[in-house]
Amino acid sequence: MFERIIAIIIKEFIELRRDNSARFRLIVPTILQMLLFGYAATYEVYHVSTAVLDLDHSQESRELLSHFTASNRFDVVEEARSQRDITAAIDRSDAAVALVIHAGFAELLRKGRSAPLQVIVDGTNSNTALIALGYVNAIAANFAKDYATDLAQRISGTAGARQVQVVLEQRPWFNPDLNGRWFFVPGLIGTLTLVIVVNLTAFAIVREREVGTLEQIMVSPIRPVEFILGKTVPFFVIGLFQVALIVAVGTLWFQVPFAGNPLVLVLGSVLFLLSTLALGLLISTLCSTQQQAFSLNFFILNPFFILSGFSFPISSMPQVLQWLTYVNPLRYYLVVIRGTFLKGVGLGVLWPELAAMAAIALILLATSILRFRKSLE
């Protein structure tokens, strides 16, 4: 039994090594997508119209606002005198973002405490607003860091460097989801392995059907399960390799932080890969030519992306579509990926996602194996 499975695995790797089109399908989308999402789709926004209100009139508040004036991401279009001016500016859409520094800002900072910066964003263009908020965050953090260094120098010897922060009101600190690159690059682990593993698996089996080797193999003493194992193990290995590659490029090249436990990511990846293998097998049972597999792949995989939360937030989808996302393994995998990468959460938080993926993998595998056995008849 093992000899037969190993024979297929060896054969599969030799074929993969010699099959230029499979290599193409493996490598090109990976590079392309990483470049695309790593560089192009980072949601960069420049020249956001901004209104400012300084109620503190301190050196510190002027200093902070000058950071915004200096940044090409923000154009200060209005220096307001009262809270009412601010509201009006936002209402009239003169400004997409408003910054308010309340009285007492400098005093808090000088004491080494956290000082609030109120940010109002125009939610009508939620994307721009959210991205802008990320920049506000970054500028405020920079300011706080510099200030802390200065402060430490001035009062050196007394208490050492103290934590000085500028806290954005109404928004969570460092919402990492606002950094396009941080958001997308880890997500690529899910989308790319989905495309590539499903694609390779489906093609590898359909090709055997098309060329006639499948019938040839089935008259040998091999059992369907042995065939399936031999056919899927190589793509499982390739899938894991793919995950490792994207993690490496993402963290080393694109500097995406990895805060969580790698083992949790591995576990999630294994469960997700099982689903993708099953999906590939399922597609292969529905096609008799590689041409058919190609178009079927396209139609089947597209909804997986759209309904995953990879680029469109699930919470803004119509209810019916939201329900559909619950059967999408990619949805859960993305939560696991972003959770381990950015939030640093572990099994305690991610177990429902992992359990859901396990259940989906099990159902998909059972269905596809049954279907595959039937398709041999």
């Binding site: 054969k11 006639g212 008259v219 008849e377």
Partner: protein, 313 residues
């Protein structure tokens, strides 16, 4: 096992597809150690029959026994006894000759020493020893078929099922191929081969003439020729076309075909018709060198049988 029992026995084998009956009550048996041919034109049901014998296609009705295993009831059990080479043998084109052989040997769990020995011998017999490192996709059609045969034979089967192995194969490779089959017969392997080439039928020990999913006749090539309804008349003439035109419509004459040096025709009664033919040719001044009864080929027999209303259908 008793030497008298056939090693392959098919009885009343029937397979229907949506709109047609591909195999219709087929009955035949193959003796141990013979080369048995399933001979018939495209669509006669050869491939369907082979697939049922190999256990990959369940029949709608009928029984198949191979080497005392009931193939219909236990297709998995029959696989150890059978090697089946489908009409389109599945070679991995991205794998070399050696890698293909190795893969199929591993599927049958053939020990590597035995595999090496068999592969060396079979490749030598088919004149492919120097191509062992070549990719299968770069082989000629004939070489692909020989490699397919080598892969199918690497596990020493009792019964070899070959579905149209020589279709589209050049004459030299075809001759190699048959030489290998004769060698296997010496070793006691029973071979069931299907072909649409009627000239190959003569190479079989026995054959079944298949048409429309039924057996017309099943016998040795020599005996089959005795079933020829009427006689084959060979007319040697430099004006074949004119000769054909002159005799085509005569009573008792059928299957008039042009051949290289004249015309072949089938007549119901040679003693009665030869003088009539001679008269007809002379009547329109068609020159001819000779007119005589000839030895029919299987092809002639088959064509005559198709036209004969009394032949079994």
């Amino acid at each position: 096992m008793n030497a008298g029992t056939p090693i392959v026995a098919a009885e009343a084998l029937t397979k229907r597809f949506a709109e047609s009956v591909a195999v219709d009550g087929l009955t035949f048996s193959v003796d141990r150690g013979e080369i048995f041919g399933l001979v018939g034109p495209d669509g006669a049901g050869k491939t369907t029959t082979m697939r049922m014998l190999a256990g990959v296609l369940p029949p709608d009705a009928g029984s198949i026994v191979v080497d005392s295993v009931d193939v219909v009831a236990d297709p998995e059990g029959a696989k150890q006894h059978i090697s089946y080479m489908p009409q389109r043998f599945g070679l991995y084109e991205d794998l070399t000759v050696d890698e293909n052989i190795r893969f199929y040997a591993d599927l049958f769990e053939v020990p590597s020493a035995l595999r090496e020995e068999r592969a060396t011998r079979l490749l030598a017999a088919s004149g492919m020893s120097q191509f062992r490192a070549r990719l299968a996709g770069q082989l000629s059609g004939g070489m692909k078929q020989k490699l397919g045969l080598t892969c199918a034979l690497v596990h020493t089967p009792q019964v070899l099922l070959l579905d149209e192995p020589t279709t589209g194969v050049d004459p030299v490779s075809r001759r190699d191929f048959w030489r290998i089959l004769y060698g296997l017969r010496e070793e006691g392997v029973t071979i069931l081969i299907s072909t649409a080439y009627l000239d190959e039928a003569e190479r079989c020990n026995r054959l079944a003439l298949l048409y429309g999913g039924r057996v017309l006749y099943c016998d040795t090539p020599v005996a089959l020729k005795r079933h020829m309804p009427g006689a084959l008349i060979v007319i040697t003439s430099s004006a074949g076309r004119d000769a054909r035109a002159a005799i085509a419509r005569l009573a008792g004459v059928s299957n008039v075909v042009l051949v290289g040096d004249g015309v072949h025709a089938v007549v119901d009664d040679s003693r009665l018709r030869i003088p009539e033919l001679r008269q007809a040719l002379e009547g329109v001044n068609v020159p001819f060198a000779n007119i005589a009864v000839g030895e029919p080929s299987i092809e002639d027999v088959f064509m005559a049988l198709l036209d004969d209303p009394e032949a079994p259908r």
